[in-house]
Amino acid sequence: MMGVRGVVVLMVALVAMFVVACGGDDEVATSVPVEPTATVQVAAEPEATAVPATEVPADVEPVSTVAVVPTEKPVATVAPVATKAPVATVEPVEAFDESRFSDVEGIVDPTNFGWPRSIETSEGVITLDAPPTRIHSLSLGHSEILAALVDFDRLTAVYSFFVDEEQSNIAKLSASATMIGFDPEEVVALEPEVIVASRFTNADTVALMKGAGIPVARTSLENSALGNVPNILLMGYMIGAEAEAIALADELEARMQFISDVLASDESPRVLSVSKWTSAFAAGSGTTEGGIIEQAGGINAAADSGIEGHQQVSIESIAAVNPDVIIVPQPLDGANAFIEELTSSPALAQVPAVKNGEIYYVPPRYHTTLSHWNVRGIERLASLLFPSHFSGVTFEDFEHWSEK
């Protein structure tokens, strides 16, 4: 009898763990590889207006009329109408604007750019004597940011889900890296000079690492693209990649400004982000997907209907939310089946998104991570929602940052 109830209790606990993980994002918690929120990949074409993204091959980039080469410096201000999205150069910069770090929370002495240097996070102050060459990240989002700032071989190891191309933006880089499981002992054995954890990392895991004498920096990952700029700068400072961090932050800010300028005067469509994992789950307020919708010029229809975080919804709930556009950020197989279910449901026939064919598959790796890659989700969604504004505009991935 206890066995049966034990199983039930365990499963309820697992559900609770998962819900918590959904509310956050990428993360290696305790021993279970709980990823942020979603899991999928591939993208809808910016040019597409009413064609389900299922028709879009996963690896096909948006059709561009203007080639964009990552040779430009970040552009501070972008004209509202553009044919080229701003992209930063990846060339190492010798000097950098030290003032960019003056207001970054966590830098103990913003005037000190020599070594040793200290940072303070929720795990206390850590001091590094030299630029760390062996960095271990416990979260996918941090790893994606680190991959943009330093050579990937400075990261000691990756986790299995890092190589999943539907979920990870560093899948190719991770494929040839050392892969470990979720035993803290494996992390300690790598002898990292510093460990990066996120707010979702299990406290026991962090305690074990600290107990082994390894400095741990726990920095937050935010749901908004611009919200991660201080985090990028802090990590850049911590590992001695200040110039790269500034350049990445500049590019991120410029690209967001570009979107913002283009969309300045438009009415906002109500967009519902929903995925189906046996049951359907909508992304409400406080979610990465919701943040992407709002930053792409839409209204998060789930949040607008009172849904907080990731919540289970039914077909009837979707009818009640009545969105103008539905996006499905989950793996392609599941997304196709779910889109088919949505389009064939008589209960949704009068919902604008269904009636007008505005249901799209979007690449989960842009919508469910917590890093600068969210900007790609924003750009592509903005292109979907406002195709006329972005006609002839193409956006670069952030691959150029990790192909150093």
Binding site: G3, E35, S305, S317, P331, P346, A347, A349
Partner: protein, 359 residues
């Protein structure tokens, strides 16, 4: 195997035929009426607002009275989303209620639930196999089919264990059920932890948590015959179960074919539980709580207890699912979570009451 808690058996209240009939009719009428009322409410409420008159005319239209005034979308929501969910919740609740009553009676243990001999764990393992192997994505019916096969296989294994040596032992059946449940639970947990595919993890976890949000008429059409036939069989031998609870020897002396009755009840209860689990996932505490409540109100005669546990279980789960649909509207709460939140405190109450009696 002796229970720590006393369980009234059929001999404690010697009921006359008319007494049984009176309690059965009265209880049946009350529960049926409440179920009908709840079903109407459940069909009327939800995240999508449908005027009550539209719901009422749609329901009447379905039984051939008048014509629906609802808009097409409203009709679609009532007919293709709410009604199948209402029916499925009711029959699953009925299955769990009656199975719980049988298991508690057979094991003379008020802590017994429908999954006591590994049926629920077997269903979960079957579902895990369907999801992890990708079969669940091929057809929407592979998952419940695998789950049902898992339930039946688990039951068969436990029966084999209990029958080893040619002598069937209820004590071995119980312990075997615990062992098999633990083993299968470990497989399920290991699959969740070890799989590299987070999508698989999510599907397994959400399926196990139980719910009716994917209910369709096809689900009802498959589950209902199994559950109804199984329930009728168990009710048919309910009188023999009463005699069995007095003592097996006494039952034998009164002409009861003990092994046949016991095995019929065990297999029927397990199969209808398996059918319920296959279409709803694991929904905790319905099979534990409902028979207790019915026993407190209507007595321990299984001729009354089993039918009313079926009706009561259906009603309880229908209420719970309706609440799960509207309490966070437009979001939903998983019904398994809600029944556990109600059932767990009741379970603790039983434990405490049992302990108090022993002191």
């Amino acid at each position: 195997m002796a229970s720590e808690m006393s369980l009234h058996n059929g001999s404690e209240r010697v009921s006359t035929g008319s007494g049984v009939l009176r309690r059965l009719l009265l209880g049946g009428l009350i529960l049926s009426g409440l179920t009908l009322l709840t079903a109407i409410v459940a069909a009327s409420v939800g995240p999508f607002t449908v005027p009550f008159t539209h719901t009422a005319t749609t329901l009447l239209d379905l039984i051939g009275i008048g014509e629906s005034t609802a808009k097409p979308t409203e009709q679609a929501i009532i007919q293709s989303i709410r009604l199948p969910r209402i029916f499925l919740a009711f029959i699953v609740g009925a299955a769990l209620g009656i199975s719980g009553g049988i298991m508690q009676g057979l094991f003379r243990n008020s802590m017994a639930d429908p999954g006591i001999i590994g049926v629920s764990s077997g269903g979960a393992t079957g579902a895990v196999v369907a999801i992890a192997s990708g079969a669940a994505t091929v057809s929407t019916f592979f998952l419940p089919v695998f789950a049902f096969i898992g339930s039946a296989a688990a039951m068969a294994v436990v029966f084999l264990i209990a029958s080893v040596g040619g002598r069937f032992s209820m004590a071995t059946l119980l312990l075997g059920g615990i062992a098999v449940s633990s083993f299968l639970g470990a497989i399920t947990t290991a699959t969740i932890i070890l799989t590299d595919d987070l999508n698989v993890q999510r599907q397994i976890i959400f399926w196990i948590a139980g719910g009716f949000d994917t209910a369709r008429w096809e689900s009802v059409q498959i589950a209902a015959p199994i559950i109804v036939v199984g329930a009728l069989i168990t009710i048919f031998v309910a009188r023999d179960l009463n005699l069995l609870l007095v003592s097996e020897d006494e039952a034998r002396s009164l002409g009861v074919r003990v092994a046949l009755v016991r095995n019929t009840l065990l297999i029927s209860a397990s199969l209808i539980t398996g059918a319920a689990v296959a279409f709803s996932g694991i929904i905790a505490f319905v099979g534990l709580v409902v028979p207790h409540v019915v026993r407190l109100i209507a007595g321990a005669d299984h001729r009354v207890l089993l039918p009313l546990s079926a009706l009561g279980g259906g009603l309880f789960l229908l209420v719970a699912d309706t609440a799960a649909r509207i309490v966070l509207s437009p979001a939903e709460l998983r019904v398994g979570v809600l029944t556990a939140m109600i059932g767990a405190p009741f379970f603790i109450f039983l434990l405490l009451r049992s302990k108090a009696r022993l002191l």
